[in-house]
Symmetry: C2
Subunit: 322 residues, 2 copies
Amino acid sequence: MSCSEFSLIEKYFSRQTASRDDVLLGIGDDAAVMQLAPNEQLVVSTDTMVSGVHFPEDTSPFDIGYKLMAVNLSDLAAMGAVPRWASLALTLPDSNEIWLEEFSAGLFELAKQYSVQLVGGDTTRGSLTLSLTLQGTVTSNQYLQRGNAQVGDAIFVSGQLGDAGLALRQLLAKETINRDCLVRLNQPTPRVELGQSLLGIANAAIDISDGLLADLGHVLDASQLGAHVQLQDLPLTEAVSSLTAKGDWLLPLNAGDDYELCFTVPDSAIAQLERQHCRLTRIGTVVEGKGISCFTSTGKWDLPDDLGYEHFTSSLNKELIS
Amino acid sequence: MSCSEFSLIEKYFSRQTASRDDVLLGIGDDAAVMQLAPNEQLVVSTDTMVSGVHFPEDTSPFDIGYKLMAVNLSDLAAMGAVPRWASLALTLPDSNEIWLEEFSAGLFELAKQYSVQLVGGDTTRGSLTLSLTLQGTVTSNQYLQRGNAQVGDAIFVSGQLGDAGLALRQLLAKETINRDCLVRLNQPTPRVELGQSLLGIANAAIDISDGLLADLGHVLDASQLGAHVQLQDLPLTEAVSSLTAKGDWLLPLNAGDDYELCFTVPDSAIAQLERQHCRLTRIGTVVEGKGISCFTSTGKWDLPDDLGYEHFTSSLNKELIS
């Protein structure tokens, strides 16, 4: 960490509220030093957000900070890990102190909820790009992964799907914005407690950042299996279901950004699913084969070509805002 | 990690040569999982490089990859840590496969030397910005830090100072470039083995990324002490000493980018310094007080105003290229 970025980080990021006993050396040296317990393993995830690509350029700095922490927490949630330490790589066009003040307030609001301490990072000048590396722990070998779904597993999702996508669609079209959906877009709720509760119950898990079809697709690819999904069972708010009633399934299936968990559970373990703050909804079943088949109450529903998850892999990343 | 960036990372970054037994889950899930031994502590550093700020825009992708790994290894070297795992946040203007091929070759060339395994990351679209979070370990509580210099400690630096700065100066002025210095600019040698050899010997250490005065200044600030530095003792190559002979001390004192280590050693421990691949040169002494006093063979040498390390803290980061 070089000198100037250190002073900037020190000023705004030393105000954090989380202070962990397991941090032996935090911000201010060449690196941070942390303590794990002997029966713990390290879990690490990195997520980057670019202005104009991952969020509209006029997004509030508070929301940018909040969401940056949320999307990384969501990755650790999908592992069933306990989040602990974060490193921030912040690239800014200029040293705007009001921006930094609000950004760090958003970042720390969510960090505090999960006792995540910022232990270091780097601040550089350039186009607004934010990258967080979040580190957590699991008890030895007790983590969720994508590649272990089994034939017959029930497929569940948490919360509701498509709300964040609806808010973004309204924002870009300059329509009246559904306020509840906007909160879901800007301040998603990482399902950290849910992820931890799934250890020993779920066979596979992933967080839904790119849309249900894309992310469930990753679980199936990694597990070398397929799935049947019942569209009428998807958990939708009224705002989104008013669109699916007209045949527009893009938001719940493809829009992503909801940061719900999608996980698969053997029938025998469904009864062990604990009550959560969020809804848990069974939406389908893992089957032999490859790919996702969707069904409605009237039968098989063919995915439009632009809706399949294979679509995504051809582009560098989803640019919601061009 | 979202789907599209995963496929990109998978294609170019699964070719790495380092594969560590302590990586339980690497690239391809929501997060990576790693194993530390019970007597180990985690050491984490993040460094970001922005095109046009930290390197000229026409720098080769191989050199960008190499240097990104080198500057992060240098931070762990300054802790005396053993590097182990890396996460890459890569923001690219477009999906240029030749660029990715060469960049990853440079990154992995150095990673292989130190058995560093890439365990995850994120690839996004935007202005070229590269951030690496490098993780390593130390045996419990055996790490170097900045804030423990003691009065009377000898101040050492490794290698030579100012070569990288000279190459950059020649590059920007479109002068004939000293090839040895250019290698030092584009492919600095992180002093990883030296850092580890200093455990139990050095009281304080830092890597020189921003220039000797700036970085030694951090050690002194953190230790609440001052220093006397003998300019005639600075280790310089002929190219740089031809400039200091004319009174231009900017390169060895201020230019940075050499990624040598600066460390302080009590007199009683100097004899324990092991022979290294690089020169180790005593350049001064830690004293009571505050700030750095420089001396030449003819007496005290007053720092020009623009040469003091206080200078740096007012800017967001050093922009060598405007």
